[in-house]
Symmetry: D2
Subunit: 390 residues, 4 copies
């Protein structure tokens, strides 16, 4: 059954396999009049791109082609189709392990579900992290559209392995983490994280990580009661990312270990209006945004593909077999995951902003388009030369 | 925008407010031929019913009326509508705090979103936990239908406050936890949890809790790649429950703190077929079930409504105000939450089983209907006299 | 698979069987702040109610109970559930013909699809026209909400059997047709139609009919290109009504019989803005409203249930059998169908008005609520004493 | 709001503008294991391709590129993306009439809805018939999958202008109509239709047409009661095609002009099982297929783009203006429309076959794949050399 679409009013459908001709996305529901060109999308893609020092050595240029929905530099209200060709493909290794499903991967579930003969085993096929290019591309449009409401989204790494940042984190520092190859929530952790990654690469192992996301200036009142609560839609969005195994909002699991009296929040009058003193709930109550910053975290498991030997079976003989996974892999997928988590967050927030009528559903007035362009320009000045800095 | 429906092929739409005439649900997509009567639903409702010693003293009989979709004791393939009248209603207290939004509640977000004049403030209105009656009612049908595949679902309390069960948990013990007023994953913790709850009631405080869920015999190959992954749909389902603030599958957040080499799983041949040795991933890889038991946890925050004084403002004057929340509330919503988490789990699993064609979409053959009836009978013999035992 | 919901932003889910406890509807997506009470709905139901001279003699009071979503006379933004109990039930006749499927009815398809044992054969079960009570009830809310845009909908009978009104029809006369038992598009045809109906009743036969619908003041620019064109959504809405077998918009089938040069329309400047001289396209071009009145027609087949003998088979023996259908039936279902077609039209238009952001998705400002109330009052003054007039 | 997707289980999303880089479609929900390559799709596209004698002189090669979802000649269960580049583009004429909206076209509604500045006016943009390439491409997959059930779909022209075929039509002749440039339901009308078209081209006018569709071997029991009736979904599918203004099933509008006694059908025992003697209802009762052939018709209006002068206004001055539409257009869009109507029919039938569990949702067994291949081969032998024959 179809499962490749996400969103109700800002709706994306992604497609493409790791070693097929292209990956891409159709974005349906973008109002007309949004200034957009391929460089907007390539800018965002640059933050999940493999090939840099800290991440997978697969080199993808990720050149974007827009096939529809944009005319004269503005969206037309029609579906926007973006494709990115797969260029740096080497499938030879996968031929070798085709009959030896990797224990921490989707290999065996795909074979069970779709049949061995129909399984595109090359590079993980559809289950590859390559699929997330499409999410980040769509997220770029969502982020740009959210500039209409001055909503900014920043994700960053709050822990790698057992090293966790416990200091308070400021939004601006979280935002500028994208300029770093290890995307730490606090700059002062950059060196520590870089050392950890370089060492783990040497031994052929990998690290898990926790990503924390902040949404600045979320409108109050977003979210549908009952099933389409903001916290529920964020959870689904983020848990749909390959490698994510946990999600928590506000105090999250810490909440569950406390007494009510220890986590009493207070409603207070602030300069900006009525608000909450501590924002323990991460900006969401009853599934609806309070207007306080949205704060959540998600857990990435360690990359399953490591050089160390792993036990599996040979599907032809059902005999035990030990494999060592080669190919090109991230030492810590959480790092590149930051861009993907941000994208999914943007998709949820923009969808709900439209569901609440806060962003025009059909056509953006010129004045708002100008505001968007100005804010977006400022946003893109962050880490313009990111590639070089690494 | 509509947000009161859940599921694609087994689709529920819930309705009703805490102090309105009734709460209820329409279940669309149930195949014809499933044996069903109101006692099946009342049985499940008995596990979330307030009025017992350990939970809220609101007394609801929760008498079920089936308005459509069942004829001669079998489903007809038409939408099944279930309503439960609200009987033990006392709205007087809410009149008193109408202008004093409770800090940990949905009051202020609802007012912001829908307008003060349109807000049904009585008993939390739609944001009340009362809404979950509809989920559990629908979940009863889902659970019964899952008997066709011999799938069993058990939730239980793995921690209350800072007391956590760390021992290994066996499915059968988790399942029989429903017979206990504190639903502990291990019987030997019952006394400890009961003491904690009784003490917290005395001081007018509340506890958070963690619920763990096991799904036994899940078919391998369930789940759609990309967005409708089983882990993503479970996350949404569970995070949509009032009071849930975190979700993790398998090792969850622990995964994120480790190295890949520490959590290597192994594919092995078992009596039952190919499987995984450790099931670290909680029965899900690539978003698809592996056939190993599904295991996940979720975090309930402590009940926000406690007797202890809380600071808020008076909406008319914007002046500070201290309130102490009366009314009838649970000392630990996680306990009644177990039944709701189980129901949401059943809804996700049955939906995906239908999406994979493992349960007939239109009509259940008589032979399968008989199998269902037999297994269900066995299931209902668990804690038949639950009411009395408390 | 679920098929009992309609609409994207104004979404209804209907339920109930002809001889079950109740029929009803959940309306999800209605913004908060719409003044609403049960008399609004009963007013609309009065135009499809059986029991009058020209239609089926089944007597239904159609007392409306609102179970959720309305508080203090206004909608709350929560799902609105409306039920109507079935009171005048006589299932005895259906027992008699249970094994003799009626040739022009859904009996045999239901049996094939859902299984004989699961078929609620009483009064047509879910396939009965009784189901349309739920549509008209939901349509009442849609019509009222459309008053925000001053959109008015009028359906009327343009032909019964081979007698067709060929004169030009004025909106106001179409609207007031509801006060007549035969709902003629022009008052001067009332006597002719009444005579036809009375005669056909005497001989135990039935008539087909064509219903024409006018939408006054539709906003220009409604409709989504490609699949969710207004004409496509109207077609689905109307063709989903029991007994409807054809749909055409504007010149419809006449268009197909012409040359392009004969049906050239002209874009002209009118007092009200840019418009079309002839409106051949019925107010829709490219699937989007032009701002001209929407005009379409639909064909109702003659009631299949007639007293005249019909050939069928006995399902137990597969032998030929002749039945004569008793029970209580309309001599021309198109007449009561008018109210249902209007309701479906209202559902489509309001959904698209919300999809285009022309009606608030979440909350109606007080000033608009007042405008709605005033226009609605005027609307309800049409045929207030309808019951008596017959 | 998104409106570019169609279908529930076999779900397509189309994209692309007439003069943009490409048109295309993502098909989500196709089970794994279906043999498929680009020639299957090009075969179907050949029947709607412009450039032949009887239709628009725009020359499009319609080379298909499959970007995803197919591996080693079989579908993988992943979304299938098909693009067709636009090659023969000449936008110069449209620059000229940009401020002179064409009266029978979507120009003005698009401008109203999306804003003049955001309107892709080149060749009709998204409103162009070019969009239907994507429908036919997706329809090819649907048709091939329907071979699993031996379901065959044939559309043909039953009338052009006021010349209507009244003889009885045989399925095989309807099917082979695709080999003719005018696609007549009966071969003996080919010469008449060709003469009509050649003459109308000379005078620069156009004809309307009626298309009739037959579905052979539809399974009995397809369709969801209430809103997703087969007749309703077909109506939406067909009415969403550019230029279609009417739809009727079975006797259609003729039904409405009759008495019930004149159109009594009879349930009888046939060799193939229980059936209906006359099939007046076109194979659908209660919205569910009866097992008799599905028969419906739809009305295409005459091509609005004709050389004859048409009155419009200049948008800059609001002054009257007379235009004569040049560009490359069909003398009778109904002819190329046949392929599109067939495609939309296939999409509806395959979706409902999956909704009823009659086609595997996830994976096609090899034996069924072989059956499909054999039937499809036979199907493709019809008019293999179609291009040449014209």
């Amino acid at each position: 059954m179809p499962g490749n679409s996400f969103g109700k009013l800002f709706k994306i459908t992604t497609f493409g396999e790791s070693h097929g001709p292209a990956v891409g996305v159709v974005v349906d529901g973008v109002p007309a009049g949004l200034p957009l060109d391929s460089s907007d999308i390539e800018y965002e893609l640059s933050f999940r791109r493999p090939g840099y020092r800290m991440v997978s050595p697969r080199m993808e240029e990720d050149r974007v082609e827009i096939l529809s929905g944009v005319f004269n530099g503005r969206t037309t209200g029609m579906p926007i189709t973006i494709i990115v060709r797969n260029t740096d493909i080497d499938s030879s290794y996968y031929e070798e392990i085709r009959f030896s499903p990797r224990p921490g991967h989707a290999d065996l579930p795909y074979i069970t579900r779709y049949g061995f003969a129909n399984w595109d085993y090359r590079g993980g096929g559809r289950a590859s992290g390559r699929e997330t290019v499409a999410r980040v591309a769509a997220g770029a449009i969502a982020k740009k559209l959210l500039m209409a409401l001055d909503v900014w989204i920043a994700g960053c790494i709050v822990s790698i392995g057992d090293v966790e940042i416990v200091d308070e984190i400021v939004f601006e520092e979280a935002l500028s983490s994208r300029c770093s190859p290890v995307k730490p929530c606090l700059k002062k952790y950059e060196k520590i994280f870089i050392d950890m990654i370089e060492n783990i690469i040497k031994v052929g192992d990998s690290y898990g990580a926790i990503v924390q996301v902040f949404v600045k200036n979320p409108p109050a009142g977003l979210g549908e009661p009952v099933f389409d609560k903001i916290k529920a839609d964020l959870a689904k969005a983020v848990m749909s990312i390959p490698g994510v195994v946990g999600f928590e909002v506000g105090l999250g699991f810490k909440y569950a270990k406390t007494k009510g009296s220890s986590v009493l929040d207070e409603i207070v009058v602030k300069d900006s209006g009525i608000g909450w003193r501590y924002n323990y709930s991460g900006g969401i109550l009853g599934g609806i945004t309070t207007g306080e910053p949205i704060v959540f975290r998600c857990a990435f498991k360690p990359t399953s593909s490591i050089r160390m030997p792993q036990k599996t079976i040979d599907l032809r003989t059902l005999e035990e077999k030990t494999i060592s996974i080669r190919g090109r892999h991230d030492p810590c997928i959480g790092i590149r995951g930051v861009a993907v988590v941000e994208a999914m967050t943007a998709l949820v927030i923009v969808d709900h902003a439209m569901r609440s009528g806060l962003i025009p559903l059909v056509k953006i007035p010129d004045s708002i388009a100008d505001t968007i362009s100005n804010r977006w320009k400022r946003y893109r000045e962050l880490c313009m030369h990111m590639g070089e800095s690494q």
